[in-house]
């Protein structure tokens, strides 16, 4: 958690619903020993000053996050957390303002493109899910060779076209992972779609994949 993070309780709840034990850790902490994985939740870390995620990547906790990532532990960034992982260079590319310059807050369809990641391992390639998107700076650019596209924006039937791309992301990319698959990030919010009463429980598949990736430290 950084000053301005605002999705941490939803994420902790979603992790617990999937059987994990979750604890909130403040960004000034320098120790994540004992944890099997880490999630950077959404929000507006450090007020989004300068660029989204630009200041957060220098928080003391980020050295520990990088260490866990290098050690093969699951590291997941959701929305602002994805932006932070990109700024920190743990995932390639960057996120800029939405193509049509409007804040988007609505459910979107996503197509699973790869299951070789901590976020999608329990899904199947081509599967279409629906979870909410809630961001102004979700327009993804410049994936590097080596990183994997794991989720793309699509229509209800899985078709990827300009119309179903909400924010102008290159190749309709909604989520990325590193080559090893242990570091992943996505703009939409799986933790907000884990029970059908919320409109969709498809997010439980992604959060469940993360929990299934946790191995005792």
């Amino acid at each position: 958690m950084f000053p301005g993070t605002n999705c941490e309780h939803d994420v902790a709840y979603a992790l617990q619903e999937q059987g994990a034990t979750a604890e909130l850790v403040w960004h000034t902490s320098e120790d994540l020993s004992g944890f099997d994985g880490v999630v950077l939740p959404g929000g507006f870390a450090h007020g989004d000053y300068l660029r989204t995620g630009a200041i957060a990547r220098f928080s003391p906790i980020m050295e520990e996050v990088a260490r866990m990532a290098a050690g093969g532990r699951p590291v997941l960034g959701i929305c602002n957390g994805f932006q932070i992982l990109c700024e920190a260079g743990m995932l390639s590319g960057a996120l800029m303002k939405n193509r049509d310059r409007s804040f988007l807050c609505r459910p979107v369809h996503l197509r699973v493109e790869s299951t070789n990641s901590i976020l999608t391992r329990e899904a199947r390639v081509g599967q279409v899910i629906q979870i909410p998107l809630n961001s102004y700076e979700g327009n993804y650019v410049a994936p590097a060779a080596g990183d994997q596209v794991i989720l793309r924006y699509c229509g209800a039937d899985g078709e990827v076209d300009d119309e179903s791309n909400p924010n102008g992301s290159v190749d309709a990319i909604a989520g990325m992972a590193n080559a090893a698959g242990n570091v992943a990030g996505l703009m939409p919010h799986p933790e907000r779609a884990i029970e059908s009463v919320l409109g969709s429980d498809d997010g439980a598949l992604l959060i469940g994949s993360f929990v299934a990736s946790l191995q005792p430290a």
Partner: protein, 80 residues
């Protein structure tokens, strides 16, 4: 010493703010307007009298924090 960093999007990175502004200018009758690029300027005060040192230090600041090399290019101007 004051140093100005001019930050602009890299070529090929979409600039919806710029293209919208260009359209608005044309609709005001400024038919000669081509591309409009919106960037930002960052003014940094550096405690040194050495222009080269100021430039070098700010360049390092740009690389480490002030700009994102995936999206942005920068130019440094020492204002004295």
């Amino acid at each position: 010493m004051r140093v100005r960093v001019n930050v602009q999007r890299r070529p090929g990175i979409a600039d919806p703010e710029g293209s919208t502004t260009a359209q608005a200018l044309r609709s005001l009758g400024f038919d000669e307007v081509g591309t409009v690029a919106i960037g930002r300027a960052i003014l940094v005060e550096v405690e040194t009298d050495d222009q080269d040192e100021a430039r070098g230090r700010v360049e390092e600041m740009c690389r480490q924090l002030l700009t994102n090399p995936v999206l942005e290019d920068f130019e440094i101007e020492v204002l004295a």
